[in-house]
Symmetry: D3
Subunit: 340 residues, 6 copies
């Protein structure tokens, strides 16, 4: 069983029920998620051994974050305890023309205050096959960025494959700072994942003729972006998710993978959305699974896209689907007929 | 007021709220349903006298099943008490490309252990106009199949019209067994109802050129199926529901009726689904109502399709609609404007 | 900050959760709304000073109505206390082909029994810029109609702009009575708002070639209606909302504004509906805001339509959106991308 | 199986969840109850044939009231349809020193507007053994009081035993009016039920040395009250419930029965209260059952008190307990040990 | 109408439903409270003009805090917007021997980062009669303590009465620091409120012979404490709440008031607790109301204790009771009989 | 870290919210528990390594049972998959004089159909310190009883301490059968746990002068019982829980321990009950922890009683308390003061 290590923040997600706006809510649904935590749950659901490296406060809220990871089979031994608080994000689900809205309250979180010495990477990577992180982790602070760099080096040393989802967050840092910091990690990255905006926001690499709010995506443009990313930093594989936002309720979803010099484009899924948060993370989880399972590049991509298509139909940050369910969809059955 | 008797299992249905997956649910919504129970509720809502014949355990769970039938006006005097347990089914509602999922826990249920002698059919059919059952009932066990045969014979004796919804359930029996057993009842069946798969799965009668997962349905093929069913078993009427599954969220819904040598095709409704379970049963209920009300064949069919279209917009197994509501839709108003 | 005064009923709205039918509901969600109250909340959310004039019983239910208005920043000093009961309306949310259903229980409400002397209009209009009412208010009773007339006259006296949403309610009065009564107010009305049916039902002014249940709307027809309304009663501006009901789940939504002799048509929004009630009121609120903000006629119209498009995605009667959110949509971004 | 007929109002009861105050509630739990409806449910739960005579509006709210009665096995054939509205009462549950609070909105209800001719008493009493009503029913209006008198006379004619729970409601009428009207029915009443205040409020018959708010009850005083009631009106049996209110959370509960010249006092139960509403009605239901079952006077009283003790532990207006459960408590087992 | 100004933090309170522990909760009930906010709501419910001075972030969470204050009639014009986050506290409700548990996540909150210049005290105190703050406010940071001192001086200048609830919080500062800082405000304080521990923790003033966990309270000891507080700082009135914790479910509650050299002790209430949080604040609110209403010292004390007794029966931080309800209890009726 | 192995059934527990009766419930709260599973969660919460040995069906319901164990830190590697169904039990929470009610639907469960060969005991006990089971496990079937015997022998072989909670269930077997079967395990049992009825029901060992429904417990009698159990089967330690049921809402709770020839009686706790189910299991968990931690006999007993006292205040089957929380109560602080 392959072992994957992810490093990043896990937050308490608080969301009004259904489509209520924040100002209408008298209670908030509570789950725990974050980019890397979401990838861990995806992988645990696929049957891999996934470990989350993070720091949570030594109080019942931090314990609940650990419990949610345990519940879904994630290895929590590297979720160290300490620091002042668990980051929180408030999520309001959008519909139709009204966008979903995220209010972050993650500053001063335990992991953002963590120190390099908190993590013993050689021990963590013992027996590991893959290391995954996103651009959010180093954006939490310079101290965390140092820890990411330590991890990258230790991973390289241990012969562990490294993937990075660029995941640019404008609330956490500027494009300039992001570009500067992320450039230090890229030489260690084997698989780079990005959405339609990240490459430009982080590295100024732009898809030609793309109008994101308009929802039109140019295949040619993305091929250029992927190739540039690969060429500049030497990653063997670059994956880009292609989201067409028709509305908050309906999206088209596809992706491309540039690997070993070849371009692969996936099927495109028209999705009626239940919960869109974590969609990108579930793509990452699917791709890591596909590549670790020695699927062909096209199959790995199709698996990742089908997996993340299903995530959009599931409440919460996590992708609770099995390999069998993903393969059924990937095999062409998206008819949604009742399974008895 | 016409009296309809239905014989079959009523189960406790347990479903996570909204679109949660089983593994996420901390509570389960509880209603009580089953193919024949659902038909009873439809008919009671249409103002007919509908009686459910079944067996439920003599405990508060069985009592709750009785109460739910009473609540909606079903005659419960033939819901006898005894046996060990009420069958349970767990339902997870799908969305978009993720299918709904049913986990059955119905084995050893009270009705599946019932004996022929439990039911005094001549008494039950006293004053009755119609008898309905589905292929699920005999699939519960040989003992139950015997009781169904008793009922068919008694119905014939009493001059009661008999309808059967083939409703093949692969978890309960094989196609071979189903074909064998169902063939014994068919000579008594006046109105046979089937969905797009049943005729093939039970009797090997196949619609030509039909690709169900692809969602394409051939009118011509279904005409052949209906005619074959009618010819082979001598049923005066054969109705086939035509579902095109675009996704778990969107279906097209129509049906055909072969009656007195004529083929009738209904309008087709594009449905945005709230709860798809019981859709077929609500068609059966609508058809029985239409035929008992001496509607024309086309009108009976349109009533049945409109009724079951509406069912897809209603939570739970049951179709809570009035004759007036169905007729409004049947009359062409599906615009969904607020009724004040 | 502009001050707007609205006069009308506020009711307790009781609705089953989600898509449950009345007969299935074991609890009812409780909010407080009504045509003019909804306009007030819209305007308060846009930052204006909005005051609701009404009467509520001096009991905890009436107090809760006041509290909900206060919660969203409405000026409640003219919500006088007295009378027997708060009007109630029961709302069942429709889906797909099943329409939403409203059961009114508003008779004998406090405001419907209010007397002319209950309202000191000159004091109420002190410092006010705008007065708004709907055709529902005078329909509550002759006494209330008298109060409306008092208000119209006082508004004219005070140099306050007057707007009226015709809002015909067939449960409250006949077309004949409505026409008779409304005609008395129209000379005071500067801005008249109507939906696709109102002009005909109240004044017999009909849009040519319009088939509402079929959902087809003729631009030319509506231009005629607006012009006739303006010509007959001398209102400077006439706005008509244009709803195409595809189903209870999906509507197209647009509007036209006839002002200063010019016809303006808005963009049309295809909406996946969360809660359609209050859609028209939110248009009124948006239009008042736009006109008070000295937007161009086209911009005021687009603001009103975008605002009310967003209302359809929000639970409850009220439109909880900010000016910024409306302007983003009005500016063309309806892609629903997550706002972080 | 004995048949009992009850005549009275059924209302929609709306209550905030748990111990929320009205002003805090965003949803309201909805059940349907009323003095006589509650007695019907008690009796149906005890296995008797109980019919509720009332009038409800012909809309989904009225239908839901019918459905709730059907659900618990009450005979609803005499719940006629018509009138404008179903009465509503809002209930806020108290705790400790904070009392429960009821806000009535029952005026103009369907049954309060019903006419004498609406009820065909000879037909209704066909096969009946018992007729029960409370002082609330005639308080709804003179027209309803006439219908009660008709019922009393018809009951007498049909040899049906009559019971009346005085149940004085100060919001509905004055003591003077109550005394006047109730005196007309009393000659027909065989069994009179009252709580610690009713006899005084309705007929000016006062228990000596009783301080209700202080919670002290004098046995001697109640014996006098019962005897006076019996002597003045000739009722064969008079029952008085004895409640000691320690707080909204804790009450002591007992009762006395004066029958055939003998005084019987029950055990006293210290109750930790879940829902106190309907407590008196459940006593009435228990007493009717006991007397109809030919229990001894002491046993009938003990049954009634044990039944109503259990009611205080059950949510909603109705007493959902079986004869077996009541007899277990009556037999002395109030230890609350888990029943497996 | 008297005007009261309160200065302090308002937080988002998140609590599992019922008695669930944090680790079991899938959703959290959300209300907004804090010592001074709670006093404001009490006073607004009593009909006074109460204004909260604080700072909340300019996001929907901060807006929701404002909305909740508006909902209950608090003047929110001095709730300035800015800063990073709203403080959060997590509350787990205890029962019987299991204590309630509070996890604070309030560091870095908007108000804790506020600057002296943020508040224009002379303007705020214009027309004010009373200023109230608690020991929590200065404990938020030295900057906030400076603002409190400014407020005290401005209040003195404006002839506004000042009250302070010592409210020691060990998580925010040490006893030493608290004593030092609070001593600077005390010369301005007219009415000092404390619970059984505060005086000792803040100023080292100890009640003789008191064992708090044992729940025994000595009247004599508290008289000494009150006198010492009064003597040392010159406050005209000192109130001390006397809580006997029998368990998390049951407390006895009383208080004493030392005013003008006289000692007053209130009635003692045995309380079955619904929500104990905000109990002390509701005492403060009651006392301020009583003193502002020119009640006698004994009456003001009894009002405060009765008001806070009722708070223990109400969910959330706030005390939603009217003057009438408090006076009924104060008058001796704690029997909890249903109010119809 | 000590390792404890438990062998038994885990069931889906379905309970109406709050105090609703089964017949009133429209949804059921779902948790997963069972005697041994509950002990596992207790021990995991105390920081031990606890493993549950059982069998669950290979479906989402079985998976959810595994997930709940994982969530709370139980080692699930020996929860093997297979069989037809997960046992279910329905729980209705009682209050005051109304007892809680359990309806079992556990027949044919996966573990009840398990075979001896399903469990490799030597491997399971590798590194283990303690083995625990209850009398429920062998009562599931002879096959399971065989597996229990295998486990006992393997435990003895591996030098693992064995504890058994007699836990007689009259629905599963007769006293006679129980005595016969349990006698085979007793020679391997080091620590025997029983409640006030078990010893008599299983082995005919009766406490003198004990009246359980009356709630009176004789210390002397229990000393005799413990000694007889110890003498007959040679267990070194016998613990008996002493429950006095005042009502379903209030119980007194204590226990005794006979160890090394000495009798120890614990403090007695008066408990206001939140959820009583799992109370005995939490005692077992506490006792195992205390004995494994080398507490003195008295301390181990006090720990076990304090732990299980706290369980009664927690929803669900499991005892979610930490060692620190138990020790605080054990140390005498049951005052329930808010922990901040």
């Amino acid at each position: 069983m392959s072992k994957v290590v992810c490093f990043g923040e896990i937050m308490l997600r608080l969301a009004p029920a259904g489509y209520l706006r924040f100002e209408q809510a008298g209670s908030l649904e509570a789950v725990y998620g974050g980019g890397e935590a979401n990838v861990c749950v995806s992988l645990a659901n696929f049957g891999l051994d996934a470990a989350l490296v993070t720091k949570v406060p030594d109080n019942p809220i931090g314990q609940s974050a650990i419990n949610e990871m345990r519940r879904y089979g994630v290895d929590t031994r590297y979720m160290i305890r300490g620091g002042e608080r668990l980051g929180v994000y408030f999520l309001e689900k959008g519909a139709s023309q009204r966008p979903s809205k995220v209010v972050y309250d993650r500053k001063y979180s335990a992991v953002s205050q963590a120190q390099r010495q908190d993590f013993n990477w050689p021990e963590i990577f013992d027996g590991a096959d893959w290391f995954h992180f996103t651009g959010i982790t180093p954006a939490l602070g310079d101290n965390v960025a140092e820890a990411v760099l330590d991890a990258c080096k230790a991973a390289r040393e241990a012969g562990v494959t490294v993937s990075c989802d660029l995941n640019f967050r404008k609330n956490l840092w500027t494009s300039e700072k992001a570009g500067q910091v992320m450039s230090r990690f890229m030489p260690y990255v084997d698989v780079c994942i990005a959405n339609e905006e990240d490459a430009e926001k982080v590295f100024g690499i732009k898809a030609a003729e793309t109008d994101i709010t308009g929802g039109k995506l140019s295949h040619e443009g993305y091929k250029q972006v992927a190739k540039q990313l690969s060429d500049r930093f030497g990653c063997g594989a670059v994956a880009i998710t292609l989201r067409e936002s028709i509305s908050a309720s309906d999206n088209n979803w596809a992706a491309m993978l540039y690997k070993d010099g070849n371009y692969h484009f996936s099927r495109k899924y028209p999705i009626h959305i239940i919960d869109r948060v974590g969609g990108g993370d579930s793509f990452g989880g699917g791709l890591i699974f596909g590549l670790l399972s020695d699927y062909s590049a096209q199959d790995a991509l199709e698996f990742a896209v089908a997996a993340s298509c299903l995530k959009h139909t599931i409440e919460g940050d996590h992708n609770h689907v099995s390999v069998g369910e993903v393969r059924t969809l990937m095999g062409g059955d998206g008819s949604g007929r009742v399974q008895r």
